[in-house]
Symmetry: C2
Subunit: 174 residues, 2 copies
């Protein structure tokens, strides 16, 4: 964390603390044709909590975040996708960090050949559940990770607005 002496928007002097991130947070919503999605479960030290969330990871700023998202999906779930859509671009905190987040929808899923392997500090559980069940869990507070919640709401919006194949939207919303 670095401290900056700066002029506030009002012209008065002010000191800001800024935490600069070396990564972009990427989140992937892996969506099967039958309307199910994949969540990963893990301990999150920052929140002293066990957390179910989308496959997520950090992509170095110099890298295309899509490449980071593909790698995270493969590492955490062993999946690859035929179609990738960037559907969310956000700033994760407006107060003291400059962390950005990018969300992708991954369609046309299949098991990748190499199988998956985790970073050695990660222990992940996997769950494949209906989209609607995940969305309900996000709205009743069982899923809390903000990128996970925002991506599930984004996918709901896409299903309702005709941005997904009709058959897929029907099983997601049904």
């Amino acid at each position: 964390m670095t401290h900056h002496d700066a002029t506030a928007p009002t012209g008065r002097p002010a000191q800001y603390g800024l935490i600069s991130f070396k990564n972009v947070a990427t989140a992937v919503l892996p969506l099967y044709d039958d309307g199910t999605i994949v969540l990963v479960g893990q301990n999150r030290f920052a929140h002293a909590d066990y957390s179910w969330e989308l496959p997520e990871g950090g992509a170095p700023l110099a890298e295309d975040p899509l490449d980071g998202a593909k790698r995270e999906l493969a590492e955490e779930t062993g999946l690859q996708a035929r179609e990738w859509r960037k559907v969310l671009h956000v700033q994760l905190s407006n107060s003291v960090t400059d962390e950005c987040g990018v969300g992708y929808l991954a369609l046309g899923l299949s098991q990748s050949e190499g199988g998956h392997h985790c970073d050695d500090t990660e222990v992940l559980a996997l769950a494949r559940i209906p989209f609607r069940q995940a969305l309900d869990a996000a709205l009743d507070g069982h899923l809390k990770d903000v990128l996970t919640v925002a991506m599930l709401l984004r996918a709901y919006h896409m299903a309702r607005e005709g941005d997904l194949p009709d058959a897929l939207a029907r099983v997601m919303l049904g």
Copy 2:
């Protein structure tokens, strides 16, 4: 920022950095009966950017975040609301911070008597625009603040799912 030596979930030693927040981030979506909403515009130092977003602020952990949300809405817009609904509860970063966010829908808006006043380091602009226009701006990347984006998608979901008065949902989606 504090550093913690800890045992990783795999049993291996690991060091974590954790930034603890003294506040809960609150966001308010002020929604008029005619389907318009209010955004505030301001410079955000962390992102070196001008940002339009929902009225937001930090509520001390000891306070009911609803009280903080009411205060922020009044301070930033001069508005009060007849009805408050807590519709979002998220964790804003899963990596190095433990910041939580709570989102409220504010209905039955009216100008509060005292008018509004800002913190002396804040210069705010206000814009009242149709909900649909704000949602489109969130999805095409013009609005980036994650609580703002998530709350607009949440309100879309509520309008579609019958969780808002019919007449209001119609003007929001129309």
